[in-house]
């Protein structure tokens, strides 16, 4: 099921976003090809989360365009003028883009299985049986085949984040967004989540991962995007970025974080 039209899966063109008076994204242009794994690095407050949230229109962009599968996200082009798309249309795009949050955001009133089944049943319209099979399979895939009936409060942070990944995967997305998926975890639990992310990358999933895990970025990503102050400062393959960063800002950043 590949897009017949050639071109990148995701494209951002001169995206600007401001909150009040502060401009958080100041002209982001980037593209991601099918199957690519991109790691976004940058200091806290540089706009990484905002960038991810603009991709699936959780935040409205102020100017510029986001194109997913060649189509405008969140807006319709009415003779050159952009008007916000109807909610159902935005929801359909979001259903094809998985998102994993720093704080998991699991639904606490549902079991692991319930969390993963919820959107396939109510968004995709799968029967409960189909959804249950699919959910059990993805939970198995993230190593939680024995925790189907556990509630989030009964799971460790690492397990919860793996449920959250499974919840996104059950929608069979074409793109996965990870926003510091391991930052809220105790150090000993980071590995199990990164392992799942590595497996996904190896299986050919298109991924954009905001991360502070330099090891993961160096090994799993094909490309590093380094952001600071709402601008992409540098874009390079990991080998090049980590050994010979082109900008002074990136060098400073790398001095402060542990290198891979």
């Amino acid at each position: 099921m590949t897009d017949p039209a050639p071109g990148p899966l995701l494209q951002l063109e001169d995206v600007h976003k401001r909150f009040g008076r502060t401009e958080v994204l100041r002209g982001i242009t980037m593209s991601v090809a099918e199957g690519e794994v991109v790691a976004i690095l940058g200091p806290s407050g540089s706009g990484k989360s905002t960038l991810l949230r603009c991709i699936n229109h959780l935040e409205r962009v102020d100017s510029g365009r986001v194109l997913f599968e060649g189509r405008l996200v969140g807006y319709r082009d009415k003779g050159g003028r952009l008007v916000e798309a109807p909610e159902a249309e935005i929801a359909r795009v979001r259903a094809r883009i998985g998102m994993v949050f720093q704080r998991f955001n699991l639904f606490p009133h549902l079991t692991a299985l319930g969390n993963v089944m919820e959107a396939p049943v109510h968004v995709l319209g799968l029967s409960r049986d189909e959804a249950r099979q699919r959910a059990a399979a993805v939970l198995e895939r993230v190593g939680l085949g024995s925790k189907l009936d556990a509630y989030p409060a009964q799971l460790s942070g690492g397990q919860q984040q793996r449920v959250a990944i499974a919840r996104a995967l059950a929608m069979q997305p074409r793109l996965m967004l990870f926003d510091e998926a391991t930052s809220a975890l105790d150090p000993e639990l980071v590995g199990e989540v990164l392992a799942v992310m590595r497996d996904l990358a190896a299986a050919g999933m298109t991924m954009i991962a905001v991360t502070h895990e330099m090891g993961f970025a160096a090994e799993a990503a094909r490309r590093i995007i380094f952001m600071d102050e709402g601008v992409i400062q540098e874009e390079a393959p990991p080998a090049q970025f980590f050994s010979a960063p082109a900008t002074e800002r990136a060098r400073q950043f790398l001095r402060r974080v542990s290198r891979p």
Partner: protein, 246 residues
């Protein structure tokens, strides 16, 4: 010591009399139906209150402002006497709505204003990350509200709703003013003709206490089942059986 001149035998003879039981039944109907409609109205206006539409938010605010800000007694009289007079052309008011129905309407619309604030507080108590996660999965606002936000908001909504119901049991006595024969009006008619004030007020109060006690026990049970602590082990299972088809 002079004995208190209360005829306990009379009280005992009349406590379960048909006329009293009819009044109790009327009070129960007013309270349960009024409360159910009040919860429905409160939920709708709370959803309006947290929506992105300024018009809906404004309508909700205006509703709360008016119906919380004026006495229930005045509202009851307004619906029954004033509105039909001022607006006779509107069919439902043309003597078509019985005192009982008008009483329920008045109680429900008043209760809805309080429930709006309670449901709103419940919705806003849910971590915004829940809505984000739901929307990121492709849920519309409405679906996310129904499946994700409201079930979690119940924890916060249930305890004050129990208090509202108990208040409703007592406030329903105000519709005696438009001649709905609920518990208080029954007692009033009786003490007016027999002049046994004390006896009839004891009968009425006794029944109010019975009803509110049952209400409190129900509230206690609900809170422990759905309202209490967080979604710990076991708690979640009970949540599931509450709303889901699972």
């Amino acid at each position: 010591m002079p004995a208190l001149a209360v005829d306990w035998t009379y009280i005992a003879q009349n406590f379960f009399s048909e006329i009293v039981l009819r009044g109790v039944w009327m009070t129960l109907q007013l309270s349960v139906i009024g409360m159910a409609l009040g919860i429905l109205l409160g939920t709708l206006f709370a959803l309006a209150r947290v929506s992105r539409q300024p018009v809906l938010r404004g309508a909700s605010l205006g509703y709360i402002w008016f119906f919380r800000g004026t006495p229930l007694l005045v509202q009851i009289v307004f619906w029954y006497f004033a509105l039909p007079q001022a607006w006779p052309s509107w069919a439902p008011w043309n003597g078509q709505l019985s005192p009982f129905q008008t009483g329920i309407l008045a109680l429900a619309i008043n209760e809805g204003a309080y429930m709006t604030e309670i449901v709103r507080a419940g919705i806003q108590s849910v971590d915004p990350g829940q809505m984000e996660a739901a929307r990121a999965l492709g849920m519309t606002h409405r679906l996310a509200m129904r499946r994700i936000i409201l079930p979690q908001a119940l924890r916060v909504i249930i305890p004050p709703t129990g208090n509202e119901f108990i208040a409703m049991l007592k406030n329903s006595s105000l519709v005696s003013l438009i001649s709905v024969r609920e518990l208080f009006l029954v007692a009033k008619l009786q003490y007016s003709s027999t002049l046994l004030y004390f006896e009839w007020l004891i009968i009425a109060s006794g029944w109010y206490l019975i009803l509110t006690t049952i209400g409190s026990v129900f509230q206690f049970w609900l809170e422990h089942r759905y309202g209490a602590a967080s979604f710990g082990p076991g708690a979640g299972r009970r949540w599931l059986s509450f709303g889901a088809k699972e």
